[in-house]
């Protein structure tokens, strides 16, 4: 079943997205693929990234805004994000205060434990379950099943694709092709496959709601 709020958003053609993860998990590739697709649709794009010290295994975030109207701020105000894409569950939870009332949290459930005081994962997942519009699943498992561990970020992008207003599944695929094109056909194919699997997961979860 399709969410009614989601239909309303379609007419606005704006999506404010928080991408969250740990340095090295590939959130910038997700952002670049969405950005590329948005440009194909002649939309405006702003994308604030985390560079520098935090890229050494610290928490990283990207504010990605796409719209058919000019965008002012590089940062999304709290409570205004239409979508959070988290490649790591605690990082998803970190940015929940940015989520709007009708916004979706799309998150991986596999923790990335590079700190000694990583909280119990059950607690993190329990908190995440409180988010009303939620898509959560084990993206690492799906990527592993595809024998492409490193493409769990594209699985997450696929799962997020239904919530990107004004950008179709096909245009997103083209975006991925262009972003990964330099790395060769094999890498592109793997990423496209991961992307499609993520979309399937999302559809499955949405249909159960």
């Amino acid at each position: 079943m399709i969410n009614v709020n989601h239909l309303i958003n379609l007419t606005i053609m704006k999506t404010d997205i928080i991408l969250a993860g740990v340095g090295g998990q590939g959130i910038l590739s997700i952002a670049a693929s969405i950005g590329q697709a948005a440009l194909k649709n002649k939309m405006h794009v702003k994308q604030a990234e985390t560079h520098g010290m935090s890229q050494r295994g610290g928490d990283v975030v990207s504010h990605l805004r796409i719209s058919d109207k000019p965008i002012f701020s590089d940062l999304i105000p709290k409570g205004k994000a239409d979508l959070i894409i988290a490649v790591e569950p605690m990082e998803g939870l970190r940015y929940v205060p940015y989520l709007s009332e009708n916004g979706y949290l799309v998150t991986n459930t596999t923790p990335f434990k590079n700190i000694i005081d990583y909280p119990p994962i059950e607690g993190i997942l329990e908190q995440i379950q409180k988010v009303p519009n939620l898509i959560s699943f084990n993206a690492d498992q799906i990527a592993a099943d595809l024998k492409s561990k490193r493409s769990s970020n594209m699985v997450m992008l696929g799962a997020s694709s239904p919530f990107l207003n004004g950008i179709s599944f096909e245009v997103l695929q083209e975006g991925i092709r262009e972003i990964f094109g330099q790395k060769g056909d094999e890498i592109v194919a793997l990423n496209i496959k991961a992307f499609a699997s993520g979309k399937e997961q999302s559809d499955k979860i949405l249909s159960q709601k």
């Binding site: 740990v22 340095g23 950005g35 440009l39 405006h44 794009v45 702003k46 994308q47 604030a48 990234e49 985390t50 560079h51 520098g52 010290m53 935090s54 890229q55 050494r56 295994g57 610290g58 928490d59 504010h63 965008i71 002012f72 701020s73 590089d74 940062l75 999304i76 105000p77 709290k78 409570g79 205004k80 605690m90 990082e91 939870l93 970190r94 929940v96 205060p97 989520l99 590079n114 700190i115 000694i116 005081d117 990583y118 909280p119 607690g123 993190i124 908190q127």
Partner: protein
Amino acid sequence: MQKVLLGVEAIAQGAIDGGMSGVYAYPGTPSTEITEYIQHNDYAKEKNIHRQWATNEKTAMESALGMSYAGKRAMSCMKHVGLNVAADNFMNAAVTGVNGGFVITVADDPSMHSSQNEQDSRYFAKFAQIPVLEPSNQQEAYDMAYDSFQLSEKFGVPVMIRITTRLAHSRAIVEFKKQQPENELKLPNDPRQFVLMPAIARKQYKSLLSKQVLFEKESEESSFNKYINGDDTSLGIIACGIAYNYLLENYPEGCPFPVVKVAQYPLPRKMITKLCEACDQVLVLEEGYPIIEEVLKGYLNNENIIGRLDGSLPRDGELNPDYVAKALNLPTSDNNETSDLVAARPPALCAGCSHHDVFTVLNKVVAEYGEGRVFSDIGCYTIGALPPYNAINTCVDMGASITMAKGAADAGLVPAISVIGDSTFTHSGITGLLDAVNEKTPITVIISDNESTSMTGGQDSSAKGKIEDICEGIGVEPEHIHVVVPLKKNHEEMYEIFKREMDYDGVSVIIPRRVCIQKNARDVKMRRKEQQK
């Protein structure tokens, strides 16, 4: 032509298109990508625009001034604290003036995402009395870099472009302008312009002072500054740089209050005066220190000027749309509480990094002498301050590990140990080591050499292949210079050397050398790619 660029990349492209002949820089977040962009740019390669890394910001800026002396357009780029290193040249270049356009791009880091302080470079520009351009968005970053050389040549002074982290590292579509040609080689008209002996310097300084009124007039007429009318004069707003975007974010249909958008300094006095006269209160939005606010508020504490000093905005850190909304009494989200479960995730040394081996062994040795004697520096190894190692006791400025260890040893803290990286050593460590050699101060200097400037993304290090020779050349005794390979199997050997040299009553240098694993992975990938071609 248009392209999606980071704010700093927009500056790089604008500089290339504006006819720049050389960029001179030392890596530093958030400025690094300017030079990297130029290094990878096809046009820059074709025209052989100078784009190699310099050893530090001072050598970079001086070389850029030299290129300006020879009539060509040059840019020097750095992070805010890098300007401290180059300050001697910076202050004096304002007095010599320029021949070819000379632009200094400084990327400030409010909120200290990757820095030791959040100093505001607009103060430095005011100190040197030169114009500043501060973009509010990526297109303006491009346009300003493009125009900046002309502005510099028009008035014969260096021009600063000041950008802050958020804009530096945010992407948007940027429209390119026509490629300008480079300047021809041409000596200064006045052969004594660059000779700052007292009599000439006094004359030059008076010339700089006389230009101040022209800079102000230029700001008044600049298309980057704007007075925007508003019906509600209960409040007026001065919005500088990126803060202008945060203001518009809160009023997408237009701001009801009069606004002065400031993007070129010195301040456009007429616009500011008009705003202050028209409005009951004036809110100043600045990304950085409350410089304008302080000037307008004055010593007599004018209560109608509000901003960071009266608590309308936070006193420190970067701005964001939420802070600006609060200052405007607009509603903000009340869902502000991040779950208590969420733990901080500080940066960490990569798995397999050579610094792990250095700190493991160092901690073992230091435990025998007592803690609190490890002076360190700025680079990936600064992460050694965090658990699990808690291995270092200082991180202050580039090169300070060696000199602070020396001072502590002078005070009687023996042995005193310095931990510094290869790139930081050539940046600012060599002179301090010479001080210690000259006095035979009992310090042990560990140059943790990963053959790369890693924290900023693995740029080439000026030190590569030269460290032992440099140390020997400035007088470190050869028998007290050791190179070791920091691997687990060598920990015992490392321990023995560390221990022996810490007991030596003089200067020792130990160089644990193993290439940065990130750089190594990139190099392997690159080689594979080339083989496929």
